[in-house]
Amino acid sequence: MQDNPDRRPGHNILADTQKQPDALSAAAAYIIFAGLSALFVSLWFSPNDSIITIMIAVFLMMTLGIRFWSVALILLMVQAGLFLAEPGSIGGYSNSPGSSLVAIGVLALLISCSRYLTLTSSPAPFRLSNRSSVQVAFRHATREPRKDFAEFGVLSRHDSTVSSGELFTMLARTVIPVVAISGILQLVPLDPDTPEIARLIPPAVRTITLGIILLVICVLANSFLNIFAWRRHSPSEARVFLRSELSKWIHREVSRVSRRRIKFRSSRRH
């Protein structure tokens, strides 16, 4: 049975972590992560640059002050800040601990923000058109009850908390991708002579190499998962797949025959 003994109907089990002393509310986790990550990002920049400082202040106000802020917009602002603040390093990547810390900060901000939005009835637009997204955001801003949101397929929880275990997984989620990317970046470029051989500028070679590496990783992982998933398909799924594959080959001929048959039948009726 569940670790939690409460079996009331419709009971939100995750909400029970609120009762535990080591539990942290999603809002608190969001604020802490947002604050720390903003601190990381701001520390990296020169304090004398007034434009950057103002931008970071505005960014902090927006992330901390407005609850329902789009995650993609936050990332866009961070990227714009990084692009404007960082002088181009001619010698390639500054793959230093500092840059990893900034990446960890950015990632922590995104993870905490998106998790908070997901768990607290945010206007998370799952497969919605832009107009629907705006409608959902407006509805949420006007605090209409949950039933109205559900029509749009929005996740909703009245209260949610982040337990210490989940806090640890959040940390792991922030650190592992940064470490992995640092490792990949160490490999780029693979060969110092490649730019001369390919007759391309070094940044282009780096971009192409990086793209190829990431693509290969994606394809391999996808193939690996597909092999596992394919063996677990039910007979009906397999039949539908086979039939759809067959129809892909002969659909032009069969559809032509079907259309003619229907046309013939309708002409006979008239």
Binding site: M1, Q2, R7, G10, H11, N12, I13, L14, V71, A72, L75, L82, F83, E86, G88, S89, I90, G92, Y93, S99, V102, A103, I104, V106, L107, L110, S114, S122, F126, R127, S133, R146, L155, H158, E166, R173, P177, V178, I181, P203, T207, L210, L214, A221, L225, A229, R232, S234, S236, V240, F241, R243, S244, L246, S247, V254, S255, S258, R261, I262
Partner: protein
Amino acid sequence: MITNRAQWLILLGVAGSVVGTLANKGLLAHASLAVLAWIFGEWLLFRWRVELQLRHLRCVRTVNGSTSESGTLWTGRRVNVSVEIIPERRVRIPFIRLRDWQPENLTIDAADQLALCETNDWPNEIDTSISGKASVEFSYTARAKGAGHLAFRGVSVCVFDLQGLFIAKRFIPARQSFKVLPTSATVDATAPTVKRVNALPPPGIHRLQRAGMGCELLELREYVPGDPPKAIAWKVSARRDQLMTREYESEVPVRTTMFVDCSFGTKHGEFGERPLDQIVRLAASIARSAMSVRDPVGLVMCDDANARHMASGAGDRHFFQMLDRLSENSISTSPPPVQFTQQLMDETWRVAEELHPELLVPKINQVPFTWFPIRRSKRLERFRRTRLAAVLTELYSLPADQPQNLIFDNARMAEACQRFLIDAGYGWTWPVVDRRGNELHDWHGKFEVLSDALTRVVARSHDHELLVLLVDLLDHPDPPGRLANAIRLARAHHHRVVVICPCPDDCRPGSHNFHDLASKQSLSRLLSHAERARRISSAEKLQKTLRRLGVAVAFASDGRAAQLVLAEAELARSGRTSRVGSR
């Protein structure tokens, strides 16, 4: 399925990585690549959970304390449903939404769960996490709306990751089928409580005030040769100096035969609000009341083409057999064909997405790409229809060339969609069943069948029986139409005839208040008033015509309809022709 949030993050991540790498902005490239790596990791984890872990979940549903695959429920009575999701292996799903599939013939009762409603608007749904082998259980109470059939299909599962990047829908089957029997109401007897007779006949036997072999004295008459000597009243004969014979009352059972209208028009509508639901409920109540005094009750179920007879009988076993028949005839199995519409297609797609999401996954159910139709919305609609055709072909084991036929042949597609929705427990409402123009009833067929059935019952019956016609006649332009001759025949055989019409609201003559019409400003209210006024006018006309034939008329919405039947039964038992007392 990837969400908009993830799509935007990937787009920005790729753009940031390319710009950062090309412009030698190491920080930007590092941060953007880290975002991409994070989404990639989440995708791997999510797919692992959906493709492998989700298949290990099993659902066990308990309905009224039983996990049996079939059973019996009653309309309007509370049903306790408990659903348990059991992982067969160790799984870890951090955010999962479970919703027990709600058949259309079931209304979920949330009145006694006010405290829970604060956290959850739908008692049959739960947002939770599953870790290890710990099971998750949720329960709710519901009520069956209409008699017939009710099938629980399984649990709809929606899996999310905690960051809202991916979403996947699946369905865990847990099929349970129930027969829904109509609940019978207790009808207060209208029989007088004051004792009026000396000898009480045994239950089920009633005094018929015609000459017979009963116990109660009917009259004294002069002796006629051939009278049995024991019938001679010696004291009276001595007093009158003339032989007098005692004549006793007859003792007979009063048989009630109900004619239940199961035609197309009575099955149209939402479960619980169909005319047939009113008819079936009344039939059950009348049968129960009659059987409580051991009167035999028979049943004739008529639709637009056939009549099915059930021999009269009494006792609990016969009563339950009768409910069983009524329930069977309430099932909407063979609807009339419907035209293909976009609404029908949308509804079918929605239900298919709920019940068979795994068969609609683009990776499984592939669609050959084409540029035609050129308009994107129409092309997407064609893709959707292709996917749905593949699912319907699989579900109904159609031949291999059927998907293409379903794609291009609207009539076949409509037929398949209708079959699918009816199997999913949908009632005969738009868009599953279309009204035949503005006319719901096939009057010709219905009257033909009813007249034949009534004539046959009258031909086989004894005198003084009660015939209850539960027929929808309100919409007929000239009631009772061809039924009049059969009714006259029944009346000529001294049978009591009662006609009960189903009606959505109180349509007794004079029940409509026209004074507040001015305050009803909205068009829909005015329309509903006009419709009600039309019904009341039809009811007046029907009552007037049938009373001329000596038939009592009642409407199902009126709570006294069953009492009227009992009163008529009482008249039949007493042998009188009216309630005022003339024999």
